[in-house]
């Protein structure tokens, strides 16, 4: 029968994590059965906690706070990545304490986790692309299948005679708009698409065509807007609340 006395010597060192592995194992067997040792460990931990506070305080650089806040991404989703990150962390933690053979196994597992992480990232990127495409297709079908659908063809104006545009408009579902052959934009300018109404024109979107002069837009119907025509004008970068520049495309109901 082993007595409490032999363990009493170990309790404080245990609290400071200063026991060798064999002693620690022995002490941990004894600890749950001994209220005295539990108290000694608690006392030792209290001292350990307080020791940290005896160091003369130092001010961390202000940039450190920013770095931590930036590294902690504000948007967190429950994705497999989190679990993989935790798995990687556990492996890293365990890796520090093992013999070489086990260390190699952990290293292999770490590599497997890293590979899985990369795969998940790739798949997530693909999935998000596909989701975007699927959303676009569904919105397009929604608009084209609307009961109140109207089609308006837009003609190129003197500034862009070879340009054409087409708007599918549904007051209930939204706007599907496309344009082709828009001339390249000068620096600092942007095209702007307008709902022309009985009152003032309402901006629908800033239009930046691709290199081939093509542009496509899907947009929800703005509340209370009843267009009588659609128009594309050229405006200063950032757009304006009301059209000021030359008309490039125009089409009325």
């Amino acid at each position: 029968m082993t007595g409490h006395e032999q363990y009493e010597d170990l309790a404080g060192a245990y609290a400071l994590d200063a026991l060798d592995a064999a002693e620690r194992a022995a002490f941990e067997q004894h600890l749950p059965t001994c209220a005295e040792c539990q108290q000694l460990v608690a006392d030792g931990r209290l001292v350990a906690d307080a020791l940290a506070l005896t160091v003369t305080p130092m001010e961390p650089p202000a940039a450190l706070r920013n770095r931590i806040m930036m590294a902690a991404s504000p948007v967190r989703t429950e994705s497999p990545l989190n679990w993989l990150a935790i798995a990687a962390g556990v492996l890293a933690a365990v890796g520090g304490t093992l013999a070489f053979a086990e260390y190699r196994q952990v290293a292999a597992a770490q590599m497997a986790v890293a590979q899985a992480q990369a795969q998940v990232e790739t798949l997530q990127a693909q999935l998000s692309t596909l989701q975007g495409q699927s959303d676009t297709a569904r919105q397009t079908i929604d608009i084209l299948a609307a009961d109140d659908l109207a089609r308006i063809d837009l003609k190129g104006q003197p500034s862009a005679p070879s340009s054409t545009g087409r708007a599918y408009w549904s007051a209930s579902r939204g706007l599907l708009f496309s344009a082709v052959n828009l001339p390249p934009l000068p620096a600092g300018r942007v095209y702007q698409l307008w709902y022309v109404t009985a009152a003032a024109p309402v901006s629908a979107a800033l239009v930046t065509p691709d290199a081939a002069g093509r542009y496509t837009l899907i947009s929800q119907a703005p509340a209370g807007v009843t267009p009588t025509a659609f128009a594309v004008t050229i405006e200063p970068a950032g757009g304006l609340p009301a059209p000021s520049g030359a008309f490039y495309l125009l089409g009325a109901f």
Partner: protein, 183 residues
């Protein structure tokens, strides 16, 4: 209150992470510098600790430690690991990571004590009053993560002597803190 901030951080509240850092960042940084020596590396330790909390990879158990004690324990563990990695010390050291795992598991339940500023001042005086050899034993264990046998080796003293000194020193320091660390 501290505990509520931790829960908000774990549930993804970005501003709570800032609040937690404002409350404890300085203490964590101070301890990290004391252990690793290099301020730049200490910053990495601080970042590790707070991001670990943010990612929910470290669980806080209020029956084990105060929030400050918990953060400092993580900081100490990481800082000591870095010092060891630098020294490539293969055996003979106790494992700080195992302590973390054990503490996170819970087991021996009791309310964590809050340590007041006055108690810390008394502890500083008690540390100064310790004979050098005793203070060295405590500091080598706490700041360098050495086991008792590694300390004996470092100081060129018998293991039994180191054990006795550490035990006596801890008793004195504990007494200095007062009944439960409060004034």
């Amino acid at each position: 209150m501290d505990e509520a901030v931790v829960h908000r951080v774990v549930s993804g509240d970005h501003s709570a992470l800032g609040a937690l850092y404002d409350l404890h960042g300085r203490a964590v940084y101070t301890l990290a510098v004391r252990i690793v020596g290099d301020p730049a590396e200490a910053e990495e330790v601080v970042q590790d600790v707070f991001l670990q909390v943010w990612r929910g990879a470290a669980r806080y158990d209020k029956t084990r430690a105060t929030v400050a004690g918990w953060l400092l324990m993580m900081a100490r563990s990481r800082a000591i690991d870095r010092v060891r990695a630098r020294q490539a010390r293969p055996v003979g050291t106790a494992s700080s990571e195992f302590t973390i795992a054990r503490l996170a598991d819970g087991g021996i339940g009791q309310e964590a004590n809050v340590i007041t500023g006055q108690a810390v001042e008394r502890l500083k005086l008690a540390l100064q009053d310790l004979p050098n050899a005793m203070r060295a034993a405590i500091e080598l264990a706490y700041y360098e993560g050495l086991s008792q046998s590694a300390i004996a080796e470092r100081l060129g003293e018998p293991l039994g002597t180191v054990k006795t000194r550490m035990r006596t020193a801890l008793q004195r320091l504990r007494l200095a803190l007062g009944p439960d660390g409060t004034p």
